[in-house]
């Protein structure tokens, strides 16, 4: 049975002050229960898209529905079913962790014992149960991010929107955040829509991703589909000696391309696991000795490079995001 689309965007466009086209006629859908990643450099239009879906940015043209509700016509109904974890660290410094989460519960009409139980469970989920009574100003940046995740979940939303959820975190905390998100998705079937410019985050966590650049979706699909698009894996075989076997390697099914450098052959193929036995067997049958064998999986950065013509890692933060980053950094300290 096919899953239903919980988010649908059709020719979604956002033009700020009639001049800056932040999002340019993008269309995509997110299935119920999946983790969907919006991948792109700073200023690509990720946050603007999430703001339109969250009802806080108007739509210049096009249409978007969240949980079956039109975000422009029924914004209040959309707000009832979404959880939002913003890019900024917004928990109140002077309130403690529990107070912050209970305030959010009250604003989402979760009350009494239900609110307290849910708050305790969520603080436990993000490993903050021991720090619940401490004021947030004593929290580290990672603890604040984890608290924000818990705050965004207090009303059991149908869809959780996360805008750069691991921005500025060290790798250990980032890995923890991925664990929490993965757990919520697998155990509770929570649909997650996240933006990120960390390639490994999108690759490891998302069922599907869309790469957005300059307000335009360049490509979308599962991370493995996108990586296959750039030609799959690269297998490198180095032989001790022997004749040129380029033609032989090209004749093996699934091999896309072979480039020879001295005794080293760079073989592009969709999946190494599929063609590797045939390659090794063929080379051995020819009486040749393999000196070294290695393969690399393509990364989403290579996909990004192919669809945008530049590497995402080269992108610098835009001015406005630098400003936000400064505030975040300040709170992290």
């Amino acid at each position: 049975m096919s899953k239903t689309n919980i988010i649908e965007a059709e020719n979604l466009t956002k033009v700020y002050k009639g001049k800056v086209k932040a999002v340019d006629s993008i269309s995509f859908s997110v299935e119920e229960g999946e983790i969907f990643g919006f991948l792109g450099p700073n200023g690509a239009g990720k946050t603007t898209t999430i703001k339109m879906l969250n009802t806080i940015a108007s739509i210049t043209s096009g249409k978007a529905t969240v949980a079956g509700q039109d975000v422009t016509k029924h914004p209040a109904k959309v707000r009832d079913v979404i959880g939002v974890v913003p890019q900024e660290l917004t928990a109140d410094d002077e309130l403690n962790g529990m107070e912050n989460i209970l305030l959010s519960a009250r604003l989402h009409h979760v009350r009494g014992d239900d609110a307290r139980k849910r708050a305790s469970d969520l603080l436990k989920l993000v490993d903050l149960d021991g720090a619940a009574g401490r004021r947030v100003k004593t929290y580290s940046g990672g603890m604040r991010r984890r608290l924000q995740l818990a705050i965004g979940l207090i009303h059991t939303p149908k869809i959780l929107f996360l805008d750069e959820p691991t921005l500025g975190l060290d790798i250990q905390t980032r890995t923890k955040m991925w664990e929490y998100m993965s757990k919520l998705n697998k155990e509770q079937g929570l649909t997650i829509f996240m933006t990120t410019h960390y390639l490994e985050e999108a690759d490891g966590l998302c069922n599907r991703v869309a790469i957005i650049d300059h307000g335009v979706i360049k490509v979308s699909g599962s991370p493995s589909q996108l990586k296959e698009r750039v030609g799959g894996d690269v297998l490198t075989i180095e032989l001790t000696t022997g004749p040129d076997i380029t033609d032989f390697l090209r004749s093996i099914p699934d091999v896309h391309d072979v480039v020879r450098t001295d005794q080293s052959y760079r073989i592009k193929l969709p999946k190494t696991e599929k063609a590797l036995p045939a390659i090794v067997e063929g080379v051995t049958k020819k009486g040749l000795e393999i000196k070294e064998i290695a393969f690399t999986k393509p990364t989403l950065d290579e996909v990004f490079l192919e669809v945008t013509g530049k590497s995402m890692r080269d992108e610098d933060a835009g001015e406005s995001e630098s400003y936000i980053q400064n505030i975040i950094t300040e709170r992290m300290q």
């Binding site: 940015a57 707000r79 979404i82 900024e88 309130l95 009250r106 604003l107 505030i327």
Partner: protein, 279 residues
């Protein structure tokens, strides 16, 4: 809507109370205003010592409504001053909430926009009124401070603070919507400074309007600060208004303040709702 308004007001007040650096300077300001204005503007200082105590009290009785000390006259004005300044700069927290992203968190929550606006109004009002009460207490305990008449009772106290509260509520509606419209602290402060000092000096807060030139008197007469001043001063200086024929003026001032609150709440919410529309 009420519950969300109270929840957000409670959040702001908790943050305020837990940060001693916000309350203590506020109290110190009240004491300074009373001590500094009470001495520097004191009209009895203009009367030569040789003229005697009777001449000093005569000036208070003729120009300052019969106040027993200048600070007795000044207390209502200083409380209004404290209210105006707290209202005007209270909006900074709202701008900060917007800049730090908390505001967007509220906008994506299923709460009425009116709750966001009125929580801003009430949190500033609550902070200002607490300082107003403490200013009143400081005025009572400082030397040569506030001297109440025998007919000043609990009703007069409540009446005076009702006037301050109405002024605070109306001003809070104005300044909360300005804070929601402002996109930076700098722009808010620029606008607020443009409004608050002229508003104070075009009122009878620090000096009786009877000495104003015609044009200034005309402005002062419609200035809500003057109305709150006058209403509270009638009670603080003279006690029960029924016993001194000032009930009509008092009731008129209070009705004017109620109208001011209603108009500012409607206009303020209209402006705030525009500021909270999707960007």
């Amino acid at each position: 809507m009420l519950d969300e308004t109270l929840a957000l007001t409670n959040r702001a007040l908790k943050k305020w109370v837990r940060n001693p650096f916000t309350i203590i300077p506020g109290l110190a300001t009240s004491a300074f205003y009373l001590a500094l204005f009470g001495n520097s503007f004191n009209p009895t200082n203009l009367v030569p010592a040789s003229a005697g105590a009777a001449a000093k009290s005569a000036i208070l009785s003729t120009t300052f409504g019969g106040a027993l000390t200048y600070i007795t006259y000044l207390t209502a004005g200083v409380i209004c001053l404290i209210i105006v300044f707290n209202m005007s700069f209270g909006g900074i927290d709202i701008v900060l909430d917007r800049q730090l992203g908390y505001f967007n968190t509220l906008l994506t929550s299923p709460i009425p926009r009116a709750a966001i606006y009125f929580s801003g109004v009430f949190q500033n009002l609550a902070k200002a009124m607490l300082l107003a009460v403490l200013t009143f207490v400081i005025a009572l305990i400082i030397p040569d401070g506030l001297k109440l008449t025998a007919s000043f009772g609990i009703l007069e106290l409540l009446g005076a603070f009702a006037a301050f509260t109405l002024l605070g509520l109306g001003l809070s509606c104005v300044f909360t919507s300005l804070a929601l419209l402002a996109r930076s602290i700098d722009s808010l402060i620029a606008v607020v400074n443009f409004i608050n000092l002229p508003l104070i000096f075009m009122s009878s807060s620090l000096f009786p309007s009877s000495s104003f030139p015609g044009w200034l008197l005309a402005i002062s007469n419609v200035n809500p600060i003057s109305k709150a001043d006058e209403a509270a001063r009638i009670l603080i200086v003279n006690g029960n208004p029924a016993s001194n024929g000032m009930m009509g003026t008092f009731v008129g001032d209070m009705l004017y303040l109620v109208g001011f609150v209603v108009v500012m709440a409607v206009l303020g919410y209209w402006a705030a709702a525009r500021a909270m529309r999707p960007e």
